[in-house]
Subunit: 259 residues, 2 copies
């Protein structure tokens, strides 16, 4: 699906930005780069900044006009600073990611079009785009580096793609031990822990049963919101057991941490 | 609010990346940059890549250790590649943006921590972070350029900030005592607590300094994600103090709970 989404860079001046854009694309799983009338390409500087994404540079299509770059596209999205004379349908990067993935999933071809480093896209070029995308930046300092802008849009495409596949955006590739580690305790295990904790606090003289104040409530609130795992609970219970032993003088200074 | 969010770059090799990060920050309205032991700074290359964000470079704080960079922070988020041995609470960039803005809106100080270009953050550095943030990238080509990673996280912070401003003011009309109760601890207070905890565990014989295993890491993970308040920290420190006394036989069974 992502192979249906191409990145189009128009009339880029600095080859380093082409390399940076290629890297950002590959990081996010986008592989098709089209360069419209680049000022300096191919270039060693592009290769250096691509940092391993040279396959994207090698396969990049170089064309003379935006029209050629957009052949076959059913959805064209152009990045734009705001305040154009004619108001145009405007998406934020997140909406752009979702729209691109939806179109690509339906088999359409999508182009994300980026303009020149200083001047952006011309009004004529912008009017070839169905939608404009504006990356929300500080109005006082609004011009992003070209590769950074590609990074933001490619990132949002990937987020939308992961969501569409029902894949987690956070990798939960946990091994079995890690799974056990993260298994949450049950409410009754938590209650046993609080009882053990209270007893231990009395034992070390920190909690006066005659004047308990809000101590246990506060500790319940703290541990309750922490989402303690079974393994962590074992550790905490182990600490309490040793604490009580130590307080009773049954202390035999030896390592007990078996975790 | 955004002024409560700092970007921390650890041991950056290439000054161009520092400049690129500064530009990405300023585009998104983040102004505070902290550099931990940068390899080459100040540098003309940083100024060139900053492309006008030189005020951020000029005001950047240069420190020797990550610890210094995190002074005063109540929320520390560290960028990480996947597959660490101990699973840690993980956020995607969007969740990171929301969490950062929420914390900053409550008056907390937030640090977004980025590691070295090739090696990232060390395990020790990652354990100083309450949460890890992973930018979902193609597993086949997962390493983002440093400035690009800063761009993605700064962008998500801005998106969350904009969304938060659109909302009707959620009045957090807390009373004074409740405010104090909920005031988050800072990273350095958390570190002192871990040191005290470790010492206490050795004292009661639960932790063998010769065979520490993953005990302290697991406890850091647990307490780090809990969002401990200053008042709760006082309680925990009080428990540790009494535990050590009890283990040393300085125990004089009397109520100490004054909370």
């Amino acid at each position: 699906m992502l192979q249906n989404i191409r990145v189009v860079l128009v009339n880029t001046s600095h080859p380093g930005n082409i390399g940076g854009a290629a890297r950002a694309m590959k990081n996010m799983g986008l592989l098709r780069l089209v360069l419209v009338d680049p000022v300096d390409f191919p270039s060693g500087e592009a290769v250096a900044r691509a940092s391993g994404a040279t396959d994207i540079l090698d396969a990049a299509q170089v064309v003379g006009t935006l029209e050629e770059a957009l052949v076959g596209c059913s959805l064209v999205l152009g990045t734009s600073a705001r305040d154009r004379r004619i108001p145009w349908p405007l998406l934020d990067p997140r909406e752009c990611g979702v729209a691109s993935c939806e179109q690509a999933a339906q088999g359409g071809e999508v182009a994300l079009v980026f303009g020149r480093e200083y001047a952006g896209l011309t009004n004529e070029e912008l009017q070839r785009c169905q939608f404009h995308v504006h990356i929300p930046s500080d109005p006082q300092f609004s011009s992003l580096n070209l590769a950074a802008a590609v990074q933001v849009l490619a990132y949002e495409v990937r987020m939308a793609w992961l969501a569409a596949q029902d894949r987690p955006t956070k990798v939960a590739k946990l091994e079995t031990t890690a799974m056990l580690d993260m298994q949450p305790v049950t409410a009754d295990e938590l209650e046993s822990f609080y009882a053990h904790l209270e007893l231990s606090l009395v034992e070390i003289g920190f909690l006066d049963p005659a004047k308990p104040r809000h101590l246990m409530s506060r500790l319940r609130r703290l541990y309750g919101r922490s989402g303690i795992s079974k393994l962590e609970m074992n550790i905490l219970r182990g600490i309490l057991t040793e604490t009580v032993k130590a307080a009773r003088g049954e202390h035999h200074r030896q390592g007990k941490s078996d975790v």
